[in-house]
């Protein structure tokens, strides 16, 4: 009986995800908010509470985080990261500080204490590189002049998360202030050591993992290794997500190219499970209560991200049209905010999860629409700038 019920319910959830995902793709939306809504609907207190597959979703969501971060790490090489850090560090610091600030203020006002402030800092600061990369690709903006500025902010945020997540995990796990300091110190030194090994010996790591073999064996080997590294990282409070991310960075070159297409379908499945699980474990009854405060956070989050994008593009010498496009493109938040909210769980405040859900729902839906909406404005700004330049040149000419 149990098996029948499990398979039926699991099938129904996954099938409906496929249906809404397809609808989302048609109208140019990211599927993430829809996965969250599905999770809210199927969870306790939702429209259609399901019981049987809870265990699968709970385990699957852990695997989902590992795969999300592993694939993100595979996108970058260690030299990419170090290069961006060298050139764009001021922009990265401004981005994280400015965008984390509303979250910190919000948590303190709500009375969630310093740990709550640390969690909300991360939730509001980080843009969704997955959603943004897709928007840039769909709108044919990869070649645009402002695109490298946008991408380098995303890279720096991801790198920033590799420092932030161990700190958060350590603080959440520690019982007192001194235990937290020790955990953070351990986490950061492991992080430094792994980054050093990845930049220096990335090729050797790659060779060990990717010695030639058939593709399914390779998939199993990399997945297994990722879970092992993630588990070990979790054990020393560096956070499983960061372990997987660092492994992704350490794997480079051909191995990364081969591994990516093999792992992508798995990532898509388990990432969907992860978002649904977050929805499942969030009580939709709490949503109305946090709706108004979250709305304020959303407005602040849009404003600070737009300023960051505008500033980064201006710093790179991009014209006014491109600055507006960069500003609007950076708005979406998604996977990282949910990863952080998932880590924080209900241990800080039962309202944190619903707040994060409302925040990501709004920004993951609004975010991809904004770059499209701002296009006419950007076009007009660019034309005005050109006309002004032409007029200035004409005025400079002797009559």
């Amino acid at each position: 009986m149990h098996t029948t019920r499990l398979l039926l319910e699991l099938g129904a959830v996954i099938f409906s995800l496929g249906v809404v995902g397809r609808l989302a793709g048609r109208v140019g939306l990211s599927p993430i908010p829809l996965y969250l809504i599905a999770g809210l609907a199927f969870g306790s207190g939702g429209l259609l509470p399901l019981r049987a597959p809870e265990e699968f979703f709970s385990t699957g969501s852990q695997v989902g985080v590992v795969l999300l971060l592993l694939l993100l790490g595979l996108e970058y090489s260690a030299s990419d990261l170090v290069g961006q850090l060298r050139q764009q560090a001021p922009v990265g610091v401004l981005d994280l500080a400015l965008n984390g600030l509303p979250g910190v203020v919000f948590a303190l006002v709500m009375g969630w204490g310093p740990v709550g402030a640390l969690a909300m800092f991360g939730i509001t600061a980080v843009s969704s590189s997955g959603i943004i990369a897709k928007v840039l690709y769909d709108l044919g903006r990869l070649g645009n002049r402002e695109t490298p500025s946008i991408l380098s902010i995303l890279v720096l945020e991801d790198l920033g998360m590799a420092v932030y997540l161990p700190v958060l995990t350590a603080v959440l796990a520690a019982s007192g202030a001194s235990a937290a300091v020790v955990s953070v110190a351990v986490a950061l030194s492991v992080l430094g050591a792994v980054l050093y090994v990845a930049t220096r010996y990335g090729h050797q790591v790659t060779r060990v993992v990717a010695a030639d073999s058939s593709s399914e064996v390779m998939m199993l080997r990399i997945l297994g290794l990722a879970l092992l590294v993630a588990g070990a990282a979790e054990g020393i409070h560096v956070s499983a997500a960061v372990g997987a991310f660092l492994l992704g960075i350490a794997l480079s070159g051909e191995a990364a190219e081969v591994a990516r297409p093999l792992l992508e379908p798995l990532r898509d499945l388990f990432a969907a499970v992860f978002f649904v699980f977050f929805g499942l474990s969030t009580d939709p009854g709490q949503l109305p209560a946090v709706f108004l405060p979250a709305l304020g956070l959303v407005v602040a989050g849009i404003a600070t991200k737009m300023f960051t994008g505008w500033y980064a593009a201006r710093r790179a010498g991009v014209g006014p049209g491109g600055r507006l496009r960069a500003a609007a493109t950076l708005v979406p938040r998604g996977e990282f905010s949910i990863v952080i909210a998932g880590l924080a769980g209900n241990s800080i405040d039962p309202r944190l999860g619903p707040t994060a859900a409302a925040y990501v729902l709004s920004l993951a839906i609004l975010g991809p629409l904004m770059p499209r909406a701002i296009d006419p404005l950007a076009r007009r700004a660019a034309r005005r700038a050109r006309d002004k330049a032409v007029a200035a040149r004409a005025a400079a000419l002797p009559a």
Binding site: S129, R141, G143, L151, R386
Partner: protein, 160 residues
Amino acid sequence: MDIEETRLPGIGLRHDFVTRQGRRIGVISQKNGARELFMYDPDDPDSCRAVIDLTPEESEVVAELLGAPRVIERLARLSEQVEGITTEGIPVTADSPFAGRTLADAQIRTRTGASIVAVIRGDQVVPSPGPDFRFQIGDKVVVVGTEEGVHEAAKILGGG
């Protein structure tokens, strides 16, 4: 001509330049081999007006359409322009001692002073083939050098 190279972290490399007529065009090379060809908007030089996604095979076709006739054209012009230099396409026949052997084996440059600048195989051009390049029957080997050198090279490759 100034070709600008920009790294796009997580995506690949972008190359772009401005044509003589003032249009900016560029190519993005993604890590997975896919290419994007794009033309910038003349009204807003920071944004693209047309973007064309190309699979690895398609981009090879475009490169060939743009590039292959140019190699031959340039060679033809070279032999007209510079006195004392000759270009010749030498066919590799079944009699050739080097059919199936490598470019290094033939030692054309050491023995004749002439250089192999390209090999035409079917409708493909292999520009500046390396020492490991293996000749096949039916290849046309484009050799540049003095008249004597090229003649000598033709003898070596043709087995005459």
